[in-house]
């Protein structure tokens, strides 16, 4: 393949958010080295400013409908990419805000922490725009590189070291699978860009895509590619866990959407079966195992796996409505999950423990944190009128429309199971007597994160229309997909299937 790089200034504009963030990243590094005595909070504020500037660019792009493709279609900027970039940059800013207090626990390299977080964000922004297999591989590894270091950042903590090592070994293994899958697909088709692929169901292509799916499944943490999640989430510094549980999932779903709907659109009946299986496994396994957890981070890790199972229901629907539902659901998940982790960070800072038993009596020790946790957990469980409910409803409607009754039934039973373990935490917070009745205090930045989480969860739940409009607009390019719609089949298929 010959590659002629003709870039105009206008083309570079499409890269503006990434360019802004890259420059800012350099700035943060320079400031960190140039002023070693500068309090590290200032670096956090500096990073957040940069992220907000990037966010501004992205919002401007979204409002003015900027779109286009670069580097021979390797990099696309459409409204879906912008959605995911906003998702990633927004969650990164909130994670940094939630890290300010936590960073004091690190003995060394406090400044580099922020640099690594922003660097991962940059990688994930490229992931959301990746439109061919090469840029997929490069951007995915780029973003994961930052995480390898971040997960093991608590150098004195054995659990963190273990988490870092596990994540690294399994991550590299997944990267190997990805590279192998890409080489197989390229060998079969001779093409790298998703939209150019003219696939036929040859064994090589099938195995190749299965390997790519496995690597992405590792990223989103779907069963059976989830084995790294509990230990990594448990051992990693809690803000990193929060970050890991949200942003990479969003970026990986952006790529999954592109692969399934662009490269593999004509193979829908085959991948629907695959996704149904993975979704059922993820929800059921994670929800059942979550019941037995004694550590809140592990509980949220398993709940995250189950939530991914829910999102996969929308992907399995394989329609535009399903995609809208996925993106809406991720938005709801962002606020609820980040909020829940923010509460965990605040509580662990105050009482130095992540055991669920130490949440006993939190309702009396800190009414604000306990109430926020209640809202976040109920949103994750899908209780109306919170964001999670509308998200689940949206996904279920999309799936029912496609007649995925088995999947829906499993999903519903899982809602009940998940309610059980969320309610156990609620019970500990409100009903049990506190072992130590001293009030739990919370720092300003943490409070801000929790407020953002609360506001997002409540506003999206009570007035979801603008957000629905946003996601519906963001996936307009999928609206003329060759998928069977309801108008073709006037009556619903009978029960089953």
């Amino acid at each position: 393949m010959t590659f002629t790089l003709t870039l105009s200034f206008a083309d570079l504009l499409l890269l503006l958010p990434e360019i802004v963030l890259t420059c800012w990243l350099c700035l943060v590094v320079i400031v960190d080295f140039a002023f070693p005595r500068l309090p590290k909070e200032q670096l956090a504020i500096l990073s957040i400013t940069g992220l907000l500037a990037t966010l501004g660019c992205l919002v401007w792009f979204d409002v003015t409908h900027v779109s286009g493709a670069l580097f021979g279609n390797m990099f696309v900027l459409d409204r879906m990419a912008i959605f995911f970039k906003i998702f990633i940059v927004g969650s990164t800013a909130l994670v940094i805000l939630a890290s300010i207090q936590y960073v004091e626990r690190f003995r060394f390299f406090r400044g580099e922490y922020y640099v690594l977080v922003v660097m991962s964000a940059l990688g994930m922004m490229f992931m959301s725009s990746a439109n061919d297999l090469l840029s997929l591989f490069v951007s995915l590894e780029f973003s994961t590189l930052g995480f390898y270091i971040l997960v093991g950042y608590l150098r004195e903590d054995l659990a963190s070291n273990e988490a870092g090592l596990k994540f690294f070994i399994l991550g590299v293994f997944a990267a190997g699978l990805l590279a192998y899958g890409i080489s197989l697909v390229y060998g079969e088709t001779g093409k790298l860009v998703f939209s150019d692929m003219n696939l036929s169901a040859t064994p090589g292509a099938i195995i190749g895509f299965l390997l790519i799916f496995a690597a992405l499944g590792f990223k989103i943490g779907a069963v059976p590619f989830h084995s790294w999640i509990p230990d990594t989430y448990h051992g990693a510094p809690t803000p990193v866990t929060a970050y890991l549980s949200i942003a990479p999932k969003g970026a990986a779903f952006a790529i999954l959407l592109r692969i399934f709907f662009v490269a593999l659109a004509s193979f829908k009946p085959m991948w629907v079966i695959l996704l149904v299986a993975v979704s059922i496994l993820s929800m059921t396994y994670a929800n059942i195992v979550a019941i037995a957890q004694r550590n809140i981070k592990r509980l949220l890790a398993y709940s995250g796996i189950a939530q991914v199972g829910n999102v996969l229901i929308g992907l399995a629907a394989g329609t535009k409505m399903g995609n809208d539902a996925i993106m809406f659901y991720l938005l709801a998940y962002l606020f609820a999950n980040l909020g829940a982790f923010a509460v965990v960070i605040a509580v662990s800072h105050a009482i130095g423990s992540d055991d669920i038993d130490d949440y006993n009596g939190l309702g009396r020790r800190s009414p604000f944190l306990a109430f926020s946790m209640l809202v976040f957990l109920l949103s994750l469980a899908g209780v109306p009128p919170l964001a999670g409910f509308i998200g689940k409803l949206y996904i279920f409607i999309a799936a029912i429309k496609e007649g995925l009754y088995t999947l829906i039934t499993v999903g519903l039973i899982n809602i009940v199971i998940s309610m059980y373990y969320y309610m156990i935490v609620v019970k500990k917070m409100y009903i049990n007597e506190p072992t130590n009745p001293s009030p739990v205090t919370i720092s300003g930045p943490m409070k801000a994160v929790v407020y953002v989480g609360l506001a997002g969860t409540l506003v999206i739940g009570i007035y979801p229309q603008p957000f629905i409009d946003w996601v519906v607009g963001a996936t307009l390019m999928f609206s003329n997909l060759p998928v069977p719609s309801a108008i073709v089949t006037p009556s619903l298929p009978p029960f089953g299937g």
Binding site: F396, V416, P490
Partner: protein, 519 residues
């Protein structure tokens, strides 16, 4: 003059949100007496609004009145649509009425965390009202689910029993299990509407609005599927035998106030009447459905009464008598004729007075003897004559003695049941006999005869607050018993419309859809 003033006034929204706003106001108060007074004021204001609605309600009409409609999430066809008709308006009044009594009852019986208790109670009132006045299925579902949260805390924090923790969780999980199935049913209704609307090129493609969903025909196999899905939701909540196992635990372990709301407001069977029957008339009339549901109802009548007969604990007895009464309501509903439906609806209201009233009596007994076990009672009528009298009045209403409200409802149900199939009525009559047996036998052992060993020597009779509760309940019981026609007139229009809907089904509309397919 009043009419002009109130023309565009969103009275149902006020009714809906007044308690929850009140709960937020309560949060600001520190003083416990202040909290109690404000809670009472809020519930009284709510009652006044509800009475206003009842007075202004045009009887003998099937129309949705006081309707308010705002689009909420147009993309999914969800709207904020409130309205009352003859089926729901009485429940609004009943909810407000019982809430006032619960606040009065809780005045001195709840001693710890009073503020949180009253807030939960008011939040529960809002969600219950929401269930009754919502005309959008998702809005309905929102309130239906939200109700679990205050209920969970009420049972768990203020429950008296040792098993209250598992009872609360059981209640939440059972109800949730039912309602997730119901949610699928609701989504299927929505998608069915969507497909019908796309065929007819109407503008709005999705809708959860009850009135719009009524206009879309539903194929028979779909109706059956949706019926059973929604049945799960309503049956768990009602609860209908054999889904009732959470009820005795929740009523036993929870506080009296919660038991009054749980047992007094028949949300599950209301759901059948509001949604299942009109939306799915053909499925509701299919032989399998009728036989299965009615047989479950008959089993409930006999099983509940039989279990009630042998309970030494009064609250558990009431729980099983609730199961039995719900059996009556179900049999009446699925007799699918005018008398049966009217009787069921009236019985649901009646039980709001009598069963809830008996729970208050249980509370009165509990505050005197610190127990509701039979072993703690015996020959108490001499010491507490007033309590014994009201116990008898309310109890006789619950077993349907002529002259009380229970008689009117049960009589209509039996009439409807006999009209539908003779053996429905024949079995149901047995339940009436059992009902009289378990109540009278228990009353005799608890109140009459020799004074029990555990009965305290000095026991005060009813206090003022308790008298207020007992008298207001007795007044309602006798009013409906002796002069039911104002209540029946309110119901008539909607019940008649429901019967018409059942007779015509969606068949006429179905014809057009098959024509559409043919083309």
């Amino acid at each position: 003059m009043l009419e002009e003033l109130t023309a565009g006034f969103p009275v149902l929204s006020c009714i809906l949100f007044l308690p929850v706003l009140g709960a937020i106001v309560l949060w600001l108060f520190e003083d416990e007496d202040m909290v109690r007074t404000s809670a009472l004021a809020i519930t009284l204001l709510e009652l006044a609004l509800s009475v206003f609605v009842l007075l202004r309600f045009v009887p003998e009409s099937a129309a949705m009145q006081f309707a308010e409609r705002v689009r909420w999430i147009p993309a999914l066809g969800i709207s904020y649509h409130l309205g009352v008709d003859g089926i729901s308006v009485l429940f609004v009044g009943l909810t407000a009425f019982l809430s006032v009594l619960v606040v009065i009852y809780s005045w001195d019986t709840i001693r710890h965390q009073v503020k949180l208790y009253m807030m939960c109670l008011l939040a529960l009132e809002t969600t219950t009202m929401g269930v009754f006045v919502s005309l959008d299925l998702i809005l309905f579902f929102v309130f239906w689910e939200l109700m679990l949260i205050p209920s969970y805390f009420l049972i768990k924090l203020w429950g008296g029993g040792a098993e209250r923790h598992s009872a609360a969780l059981k209640f939440v999980l059972y109800t949730l299990l039912g309602s997730v199935f119901m949610l699928v049913g609701i989504a299927l209704l929505n998608i069915n509407f969507h497909q019908w609307a796309s065929l007819h090129h109407t503008d709005q493609s999705y809708s959860f609005d009850l009135l719009e969903l009524l206009s879309a025909p539903i194929p028979m196999d779909q109706q059956i599927l949706i019926f059973w899905l929604m049945f799960m939701g309503f049956a768990f909540k009602a609860p209908i035998f054999p889904f009732h196992t959470w009820l005795p635990d929740a009523l036993m372990e929870g506080p009296i106030g919660m038991a009054v709301v749980l047992a007094g407001l028949k949300l599950g069977t209301f759901g059948f009447m509001r949604f299942s029957l009109p939306l799915l008339p053909d499925a509701s009339q299919s032989d399998t459905v009728v036989i299965v549901v009615v047989v479950l109802g008959l089993c409930a009548i006999l099983y509940g009464a039989w279990m009630a007969l042998v309970q030494p604990d009064f609250r558990r007895l009431l729980a099983y008598s609730s199961v039995s009464h719900l059996g009556f309501i179900v049999v009446g509903l699925f007799s699918l004729n005018y008398q049966g439906l009217q009787g069921s609806l009236l019985t649901m209201i009646n039980l709001g007075f009598s069963t809830a009233g008996l729970f208050f009596i249980a509370g009165f007994l509990y505050s005197r003897q610190q127990s509701t076990q039979l072993s703690a009672f015996g020959g108490m009528a001499k010491q507490v004559p007033l309590l014994a009298t009201f116990f008898l009045i309310i109890g006789l209403a619950s077993i349907g003695l002529p002259g009380t409200n229970g008689f009117v409802g049960e009589f209509l149900i039996l009439l409807g049941a006999f009209k539908a199939k003779w053996w429905f009525g024949a079995v149901a009559v047995l339940g009436v006999i059992f009902g009289a047996a378990y109540f009278l036998w228990y009353y005799e052992r608890a109140m009459l005869g020799p004074v029990g060993k555990a009965v305290k020597q000095t026991m005060s009779d009813l206090q003022l607050r308790e008298i207020v509760i007992a008298v207001s309940l007795s007044v309602m019981i006798l009013w409906i018993g002796l002069y039911p026609s104002p209540f029946l007139r309110i119901m008539n229009g909607s019940v008649q419309a429901l019967v018409d809907r059942l007779n015509h089904g969606t068949v006429a509309a179905l014809g057009s859809s098959t024509a559409e397919k043919g083309r």
